[in-house]
């Protein structure tokens, strides 16, 4: 990535140094938690902050034993919320984005404006009444309470519209229609395959957004059996703040909670680079 063909300009030492400094700053807390989670309770307060300790496995065992393994329940819940939520969200966004980009119909601009307007509504304006309404429907404090409000993601619809507009040639749909293919068939055979890379990106961003969400599950759930990791770790911290004995659990929990996302992130590198803010510069 760093070299362009042809002229090789002199290497910039200062730019490289600035970037590495930024990288160091971003890695610092991650390196710290990596080291701290390997320390026993005694080592945590006495040894060098970045020196590895000897207690990683006992920490994980302690965390797994905490309240009959509730941490792993949180992990499974988070995977469920993020996985199912992002999958449904991607499907809804792609359908809507495809319709908005590739069809001309009455009310198209109005519908798009209203849907996109959803981005601008502060989360709390929604979360509190969402809770009250779901409570009336008997769904508060259930998996549905976190899953259902996570599906609609206006920004994903915006992205899906851009992808659909850029990736699906009108001529291809036209040809399909002349050959007598129905609209649903065109969606399955032409649109979805062409939008696939964009769909992966939408899925990933939505997966991360739900995985990292705190406010919604914090408001919706009372029963810690259904907590995702964020709310679980928050309550663990809130109870453990005055008990340094619990620090190890919180630190180990923090490390284990970011490993899945970092793994996803490193393996899916390619898709994080897809054109995020659209094809506005191209063409």
């Amino acid at each position: 990535m760093t070299t362009t063909k042809g002229v090789r300009r002199p290497l910039g030492l200062a730019p490289t140094a600035v970037l590495l400094l930024g990288a160091l700053y971003c890695l610092l807390p991650v390196c710290w938690v990596l080291a701290a989670s390997t320390k026993t309770r005694g080592e945590l307060f006495t040894t060098n902050a970045f020196a590895p300790g000897t207690g990683l496995f006992s920490n994980i065992a302690d965390l797994s034993a905490y309240r009959d393994g509730i941490f792993w329940q949180w992990m499974a819940n988070t995977a469920l919320y993020a996985g199912v939520g992002a999958l449904l969200s991607t499907a809804v966004s792609v359908l809507a984005g495809y319709a908005l980009a590739k069809f001309r119909f009455f009310g198209r601009d109005a519908i798009f404006t209203v849907l996109i307007g959803g981005i601008l509504v502060p989360a709390v304006v929604l979360a509190v009444p969402q809770y009250l309404l779901l409570a009336k429907a008997g769904l508060a404090n259930t998996y549905w309470a976190v899953l259902l409000p996570s599906i609609l993601h206006p920004y994903s619809i915006y992205l899906a519209r851009i992808y659909a507009a850029a990736a699906i040639p009108d001529a291809l749909l036209e040809a399909g229609r002349i050959d007598g293919a129905g609209e649903h068939r065109l969606l399955r055979v032409v649109a979805v395959p062409l939008m696939l890379p964009g769909m992966v990106t939408i899925f990933l961003f939505q997966f991360v957004a739900i995985w990292n969400n705190f406010l919604l599950p914090f408001i919706m759930l009372a029963d810690d059996e259904r907590f995702p990791l964020t709310v679980g770790l928050y309550t663990l911290l809130a109870t453990g703040a005055n008990q340094p004995a619990l620090y190890n659990l919180v630190i180990t929990g923090a490390l284990l909670s970011i490993i899945p996302l970092i793994a996803l992130f490193l393996t899916m590198q390619r898709y994080w680079r897809t054109d995020l803010s659209g094809g506005s510069v191209k063409s």
Binding site: C26, L100, F105, L115, A123, G182, N212, L233, Y234
Partner: protein, 308 residues
């Protein structure tokens, strides 16, 4: 699969687009429109206790007009919260977007080594939930654990409290910058990569250096993306909730009404006054409408101009 469109008149779309939009519209109605309407309804009401206020019958909901709004706007703590968030947001926006732009330009300058490593490392915090980021930094702010304090002590600086009333805001700004720079950098960098390389050759032939190209050619091209990231960041920082909430257990300096959103949460779920909470949350929404409208204009003009 039902009906095939004949001929070239494909623009006559029929019911298909409406069908495809149905899930989005239904979800929008249930989880965005209905809650907003319900908030507006609640914000105009209040509970009235009759008699001794005991028993079920004595508690009735009445219409109070704009009373809740008057109370919300008259509350000094609410505006103090706004002031804190304004200071916080200004610092976060300037530093986070400044760094994001700097890193994006450096990555794109073709003169740096280890660019891939730096890019991945700087984007990495995006994969860390706000709660966990605050928690990690929170531990790094604790004197008994922190390498920061150890380093300061090594340089002879003693007794710095990173969680005191005068410093906790900067500690929070740091968490936000750490968590948000990478994402914004990626947005800007992606935009830069989409520009054909020969675009700069003309400037280079004219003898412009990398710095001049960056400032005079790249930054103007990035302007729309910068506006976009700024608006998103404004919306996000106004809604700050997770970070101060997570710092509360380890710092006495963060009150339960530190940010306007925290006040809404407290009113609704701790004090149990849903009606005030509803009014306050609508005032917050109204105040964030300004950047929002800006965003709307941008989306319509910039991104979809060429589609027609």
């Amino acid at each position: 699969m039902t009906k095939a469109h004949r001929g070239a008149r494909a623009h006559r779309a029929g019911a298909t687009p409406y069908l495809y939009l149905t899930p989005a519209v239904v979800l929008f109605t249930l989880f965005i429109a209905a809650p907003i309407g319900y908030t507006a309804y609640l914000s105009l009401r209040q509970v009235k206790f009759s008699g001794l206020g005991l028993g079920r019958k004595s508690r009735t909901e009445i219409f109070v007009g704009l009373d809740n709004y008057r109370t919300a706007v008259a509350d000094g703590e609410f505006w103090a919260g706004w002031l804190r968030v304004l200071g916080y947001a200004t610092m976060v926006l300037a530093l986070m977007l400044g760094l994001a732009l700097l890193f994006a330009l450096l990555l794109d300058s073709a003169r740096v080594r280890l660019a891939r490593f730096s890019r991945i490392a700087i984007f990495l915090p995006y994969a860390v939930p706000g709660v966990v980021a605050t928690l990690l930094w929170g531990f790094l702010y604790l004197p008994s654990l922190s390498p920061i304090h150890a380093t300061l002590r090594a340089f002879g600086v003693e007794g710095v409290d990173l969680l005191s009333p005068s410093t906790v805001m900067f500690s929070m700004v740091n968490v936000a910058i750490w968590g948000g720079t990478g994402f914004n950098m990626l947005v800007l960098y992606t935009q830069l990569r989409a520009i054909p390389r020969d675009y700069y050759e003309a400037a280079r032939i004219d003898g412009a250096g990398e710095l001049a190209i960056a400032l005079r050619v790249k930054v103007p091209i990035l302007a729309p993306a910068l506006v976009l990231t700024t608006v998103f960041s404004i919306i996000a920082t106004i809604q700050v909730f997770t970070e101060p909430m997570t710092l509360r257990p380890i710092s006495n300096a963060v009150s339960s009404t530190w940010s306007p959103l925290m006040k809404v949460y407290r009113d609704a779920f701790v004090t149990g006054d849903l009606y005030s909470a509803a009014a306050t949350s609508l005032v917050i929404a109204a105040i964030s409408v300004v950047p929002s409208l800006l965003f709307m204009r941008l989306v319509r003009r910039q991104a979809f101009g060429e589609e027609r």
